[in-house]
């Protein structure tokens, strides 16, 4: 698989208050593909994902070493423009976190803070991104209702629309389907498969079957270490490291979260 690299991680180490969470991770995330990050609980998947948009900076006592290049720009350099970086990356959380405002305003928020104030264009764009997230038909009649009134599955698609609205290049998902029912989860997966035409997608998942279904590229993290990475088909069929082999064959105690569908 020859693909352009979108995010390049070089010797990344992260500590929380002296406790190491990632050790010397070097990894290239291919452009316009779905990359799955898998590994047992607490191995550092979220930490890696949140390093990409420097959301990790919000944690207390965090220290970072190494470099991350996004579009060949070092985002770990002092003085890096974090709001611009974060605008480039949409993030979906494990549990959808809607903003305390209406459905419409949730999507319009990002547009507004990045300078779109024209009412007409706002309306058009909100509709466009709600359609893209596959939510438009369900909410077109109640755009003014509080977003918190939506079901969890709908909220997650709203978060997707909200993230897409700031026109990112990368979509980061931290177990974005784990709080959803199987049907909602499937709808989100469907979206991802459609979106990878235009976006680079990085997906943290506990669900190996999901990783198999979606991923073009896969990385296995274990105890803060990047054990193995490569084209997904290859990694799942012929893991090189015994730890990867053990994990994907389900011989890890921690490897719960296999989806019940």
């Amino acid at each position: 698989m020859e693909a352009r690299t979108h995010i390049r991680v070089e010797d990344l180490s992260v500590w929380y208050g002296g406790h190491p969470a990632l050790k010397d991770v070097t990894l290239s995330i291919p452009d316009k593909k779905i990359t799955a990050i898998i590994g047992p609980s607490g191995c550092g998947k979220t930490t890696l994902l949140k390093s990409f948009n420097r959301l990790i900076d919000l944690q207390e006592g965090v220290r970072m070493e190494g470099r991350i290049l996004v579009d060949d720009e070092d985002i770990t350099a002092p003085g890096a423009d974090l709001t611009r970086l974060r605008k480039k990356m949409g993030l979906l959380f494990q549990r959808p976190q809607v903003l305390p405002m209406s459905i419409f305003e949730n999507v319009a928020y990002g547009l507004r803070i990045h300078g779109e104030n024209d009412r007409l264009r706002l309306g058009e764009k909100v509709e466009h991104y709600l359609r893209m997230a596959g939510l438009w038909a369900e909410v077109r009649d109640r755009l003014a209702a509080p977003a918190a009134k939506l079901s969890i599955g709908q909220q997650q698609r709203l978060c997707l629309a909200r993230g897409l609205a700031v026109e990112p290049e990368v979509i980061l998902g931290d177990e974005p389907t784990s709080a959803l029912d199987p049907h909602s989860a499937e709808r989100i997966e469907q979206r991802f498969l459609e979106l990878k035409r235009d976006y680079t997608i990085v997906l943290v998942t506990h669900i190996l079957r999901q990783a198999r279904r979606l991923a073009d590229y896969a990385a296995f993290v274990y105890m803060g270490e990047l054990v193995e990475h490569g084209p997904a088909a290859e990694l799942f069929a012929h893991p090189k490291d015994p730890r990867t082999e053990a994990y994907i064959s389900g011989r890890f105690i921690e490897s719960t979260g296999e989806d019940p569908d």
Binding site: L58, L99, P100, Y109, I113, G163
Partner: protein
């Protein structure tokens, strides 16, 4: 053993019921007392007229001076406390790191201030007035009560901010918000009902306090017209009227207590309703 556990359970249940009953009972009893004793004296004159000559020995008039005074002083003090509390709480929760030493020190100071009895605030206000050569006035009373309710307001707001899930901060930043945008457009919105409740709670506490205004605001039969004149307040109106030996004046004291209780009750009900809204927002 099973028997013992059963009895244990029964005793504990009994204790809990008794405690709950005592709380509900004393609330009911207080309301009933104030209502029964004060209701008859409650009249148009009581609410809308100032004390006439000989009011405190049974003459005509009402407690409009104290109602107006308490509302003006309470609102002023609340506004003052809000001007201090809101920036302070934003600073603590959005700008300072959560485990910072300064944040710890500020919260600790607020807790200590909260615990200081209001008479001490009154005495402190009085001392400052004497040093500055000021007389008891609406201004001095407002400042003192403002000081009294700052810790109440700020700490309640602080708790509201702590209830905002960290993921909401993250969601706001992940969309490329600046700190200011995250604070003003997302966090404030989420916290707003809770903050309003904190303001109301502080107002209720301020308007009902007697000891802090005793020396600083003094008392007058006139309606409040100037920041630099003494002002009447409901708690002191109650105190003075109950202190007379005349049953009809005492009855008016209860009527004043009823008015004050109703104001505070209305404010707490409103605060409750707002708090329910905030909890409904955060799953």
């Amino acid at each position: 053993m099973t028997q013992a556990r059963f009895i244990e359970e029964k005793i504990f249940r009994g204790l809990m019921l008794a405690a709950a009953g005592m709380v509900a009972g004393s609330l009911g009893l207080i309301l009933a007392t104030v209502f029964v004793k004060g209701f008859r004296a409650l009249s148009f004159d009581m609410l809308f007229k100032t004390p006439q000559g000989g009011y405190y020995i049974g003459g005509g008039g009402g407690i409009a001076n104290a109602i107006a005074g308490s509302l003006v002083l309470g609102l002023g003090a609340t506004l003052l406390a809000l001007l201090v509390s809101l920036p302070l709480v934003f600073y603590l929760n959005v700008y300072l790191r959560r485990r910072s030493r300064l944040a710890f020190f500020i919260r600790f100071s607020l807790d200590v201030l909260w615990g200081i009895p209001s008479i001490v605030y009154g005495a402190f206000g009085f001392t400052v007035m004497v040093t500055l050569g000021l007389k008891a006035s609406l201004l001095a009373g407002t400042l003192t009560v403002g000081l009294l309710i700052i810790p109440i307001m700020a700490r309640s707001m602080d708790e509201v901010f702590k209830m905002v899930p960290p993921e909401l901060h993250e969601a706001a930043y992940a969309l490329g918000s600046t700190r200011w945008e995250a604070a003003m457009k997302v966090i404030l919105r989420q916290a707003f009902p809770g903050l309003a409740a904190a303001v109301l709670i502080a107002f209720g506490r301020g308007i009902g306090d007697a000891a802090s205004v005793l020396f600083t605001a003094s008392f007058t039969d006139a309606l409040p017209t100037s920041l630099f004149r003494p002002v009447a307040t409901l708690p002191l109106a109650i105190f003075f009227q109950l202190g007379t030996p005349f049953p009809e004046v005492q009855e008016r004291g209860y009527a004043a207590a009823l008015v004050l209780t109703l104001i505070v009750l209305a404010v707490s009900v409103l605060a409750r309703a707002l708090t329910r809204r905030v909890t409904r927002h955060s799953r």
